[in-house]
């Protein structure tokens, strides 16, 4: 049990308070540790001293890296005894706390930047590359530390050096995915999964080593990687702001180049754009954002900040510029509100809340987005079905009347006067009585038909005109198909039924032009108000 306990200490070093280690063999320990927030370095050092076998058990606590530092922000914002919710809310919202301001600014900047960069990755259909990049960066940090420590002991934690190592390995991970995909039989998805786990595994192995480098004070390094347990500090936020400024400037300057790359890389290549370098630049931006963001929200969650905002923004707009802005907005909003919520409630890890806020915004967008949202899509489909039903109903009515009236083109008076029983209509097409009744109900409401008695209806004036127009349209198309498309006549009707629902006005004009030279068998529009002759 002692090993498990030590593990708990070691792994829980990232700001986990009151943690009971839950050991891998699924046995629950019974100790409750009352440890206030402490410096993780001490813990780790003591663990290494305590247990000889710990050299083997000290595998890299991958969880800490991936999840960031849960509760880190909370630990800052709620260090004092918890006041009532309302006053806490006021305290947070009024930004009275310096720390609150710093953390909010930092996460919001990160959210905006990640959202904007993520837009292009999403459109390039490489949404998960951020995941690979983040995992791949791990050995870079360890190696950078070892190299710097080897060159001059004590300098191992020099931030730019660590970031450079992370950047180099993140990029290497992304590039090896591209290489494996291009030059071997292995597809991109497997290449991603492989690169991710091999690089990450290498990083984990190196980190167990790094911990044991004498005098290197590696434990602090790990804490730093875990996302700065003591929360974001002003320096980090300035780094975020700087990175955000660079990334946003680059994105703005290269907006059209990135657009053409994502939309049509073949065309871009044919036009002489350096597709490979643009791709590399884009990956470079992703690597930057991932590495910076990992420190504050953790690896998996930074992946979310790259994907969720652009995916949400896509539901609201069909314009890439607005989508980019929208992704920035969603990213910023989820970070902002996520941070505030996590500051208000103890035990709510900031990173997780940020992602869940984003997921909530995503769900809202998925449902209510004005361009591709589920609700609006459903509404449009419904309207289309109604239109199709109306067209079918009116054409069937026209054909019934036409059949009954010997004159090939019934006049408006004849059409209005004719009684249409339900039974006759049913026999015209493959529809059942219930749905036909529904269609007729809609037509009555739209003043296209009116009930006579029982199951018998008549067309109204406007209904008659509409029916004539629809039948004319349909036959034009049918005729056109027979004439030009060399489709066997027996198939024409089915095709015509499908196509007339999507016929655009342009084409109708084209057909009308031909109609002028073909008089037989086509209902002629009776007067100028009819749809077909008005344009």
């Amino acid at each position: 049990m002692s090993v498990a306990l030590i593990l708990g200490l070691l792994l829980g070093a990232g700001g986990v308070q009151n943690a009971i280690p839950f050991v891998p063999n699924l046995r629950l320990g019974t100790h409750a540790l009352e440890t206030p927030f402490r410096e993780p370095e001490e813990t780790v050092v003591s663990v290494v001293k305590l247990e000889k076998r710990s050299s083997q058990t000290g595998a890299f606590p991958s969880g800490v890296w991936e999840q960031g530092s849960p509760g880190s922000i909370h630990s800052v914002l709620a260090q004092k005894p918890t006041p009532p919710l309302l006053s806490r809310l006021w305290r947070v919202l009024s930004l009275r706390d310096y720390n609150t301001r710093v953390v909010l600014l930092g996460t919001t900047m990160l959210g905006i930047t990640a959202g904007i960069v993520g837009t292009f990755m999403l459109l390039r259909k490489r949404a998960l590359v951020g995941d690979v990049v983040g995992h791949s960066a791990l050995p870079g940090i360890a190696i950078a530390f070892l190299v710097m420590e080897g060159l001059s002991p004590g300098t191992g934690k020099w931030l730019p050096g660590l970031l450079a190592g992370a950047f180099a390995f993140g990029l290497a991970g992304a590039v090896s995915v591209m290489l494996i995909d291009k030059y071997s039989r292995i597809k991109a998805d497997a290449a991603m999964a492989m690169t991710l786990s091999v690089f990450y595994g290498l990083g984990a192995a190196l980190f167990t080593i790094v911990q044991k480098v004498p005098g290197g004070n590696a434990a602090g390094l790990k804490t730093y990687l875990n996302g700065k347990t003591a929360s974001l500090i002003a320096d980090d936020v300035w780094l975020f702001v700087g990175v955000a400024a660079v990334v946003l400037t680059l994105t703005m300057l290269l907006m059209k180049e990135l657009t053409i790359l994502c939309f049509d890389d073949q065309f871009a290549a044919a036009e002489g754009w350096p597709v490979f370098w643009l791709d590399t630049l884009l990956i470079g931006l992703v690597v930057t954002v991932t590495i910076i963001g990992m420190q504050s929200v953790g690896l998996i969650l930074v992946v979310a900040t790259l994907i969720i905002p652009p995916a949400s923004a896509r539901f609201w707009t069909d314009d890439i510029r607005r989508m980019t802005l929208g992704a920035g907005l969603v990213g910023g909003m989820s970070s902002f509100f996520g941070t505030i919520i996590s500051a208000l409630f103890p035990r709510m890890a900031a990173g997780a809340v940020i992602v869940l806020t984003g997921a909530f915004l995503f769900a809202l967008s998925l449902l209510f987005g004005t361009k591709r949202g589920v609700v609006i899509h459903w509404w449009q489909q419904r309207k289309l079905r109604q239109d199709v039903g109306r067209v079918d109903l009116l054409r069937a009515s026209f054909e019934l009347i036409e059949y009954a009236v010997s004159d090939p083109t019934p006049t408006s008076e004849e059409m209005v006067a004719h009684e249409i029983p339900l039974g006759d209509l049913i026999s015209m097409r493959a529809w059942d009585a219930a749905s036909l009744r529904r269609l007729i109900g809609t037509a009555v409401r739209d003043d296209l038909m009116r009930p006579t008695s029982g199951d018998v209806w008549r067309l109204t004036e406007s209904g008659a005109e509409e029916a004539r127009r629809i039948a004319r349209n349909h036959r034009l198309w049918e005729m056109y198909l027979m004439q030009y498309a060399h489709i066997a006549p027996s198939h024409v009707d089915r095709d015509a039924d499908l196509i007339e629902h999507v016929l655009d006005p342009e084409l109708i004009a084209e057909l009308e032009h031909q109609l002028d030279h073909m008089e037989d068998n086509v209902p002629v529009s009776s007067h100028a108000t009819s749809g077909s002759s008005s344009d």
């Binding site: 073949q266 342009e506 084209e510």
Partner: protein
């Protein structure tokens, strides 16, 4: 030139001089390598051997004088851009690095859309256009490039009559201003009406020349009369051997 996919030659030893200022159709059955020919000419797929000269100079130096109209299926039409944005992409080369698409360029894009009869659709998202309209957007994108040579991959495939007429009108306008267009075409009925020159392709160049001379039943039979089985067999050997 010879082009191979997975080391297996798709087109063999094409040696062709396109006459300038003409409309040229590339005609052949499915799998004859029509699209491959265009893509190889544009350096989009690697060539096993051979080179491409445009107006007497290597293609790389003449890139700006060549415009490409890809197949409609080659892009994701759900992409969040409008018709005008897509057309403006043809101008990006002229606009240059970093500069945004200013009003002047947007106007130029709209004019090109007008030429293909889509002036009213400029602000529409591209997925909301019909297949024919999408094709015309690609055509407009090529037009704004004001190139001298146009390479078009199946522009007439699956389009409505209005589009077909619009494309044809554009092609004739191009010819009347001395431009050259190489068009992959699938509809044998219209080749003679639409094009001056024809290039019959089935893995190798079967025949080429003025439509009136080359577009004969005999040549068509040679083009469409099945692939040369021996060519396939040797191709397989090459792929295995290499």
């Amino acid at each position: 030139m010879t082009v191979a996919y997975h080391r297996r030659p798709v087109i063999w030893d094409i040696d062709y001089d396109a006459p300038a200022g003409e409309l040229i159709a590339i005609v052949g059955p499915n799998g004859a390598g029509k699209s491959t020919l265009i893509k190889a000419a544009l350096d989009l797929v690697p060539k096993v051997s051979g080179e491409v000269h445009v107006f007497g100079q290597p293609y790389e130096e003449q890139r700006s004088r060549v415009a490409y109209v890809p197949q409609r299926t080659s892009v994701d039409w759900d992409f969040p851009v409008s018709a005008q944005d897509v057309v403006a992409m043809g101008l990006y080369g002229k606009i240059g690095w970093f500069w945004p698409v200013s009003r002047k360029w947007r106007k130029e894009a709209r004019e090109a859309l007008d030429r293909v009869g889509l002036a009213d659709f400029a602000r529409r998202q591209i997925s909301q256009l019909s297949g024919g309209q999408q094709q015309r957007v690609f055509l407009a994108r090529a037009l704004v490039q004001q190139a001298d040579l146009y390479l078009m991959d199946e522009p007439f495939a699956g389009v409505d009559a209005a589009t077909e007429r619009a494309i044809l009108q554009v092609l004739r306008d191009l010819r009347s201003t001395g431009k050259t267009a190489l068009v992959v075409h699938h509809d044998l009925q219209t080749v003679a009406d639409y094009f001056d020159h024809v290039l019959l392709l089935n893995m190798r160049l079967v025949a080429s020349g003025p439509t009136t001379e080359v577009f004969t039943e005999e040549n068509l039979r040679r083009t469409y009369g099945g692939r040369l089985a021996l060519l396939d067999q040797v191709g397989t050997r090459l792929a295995e051997g290499q």
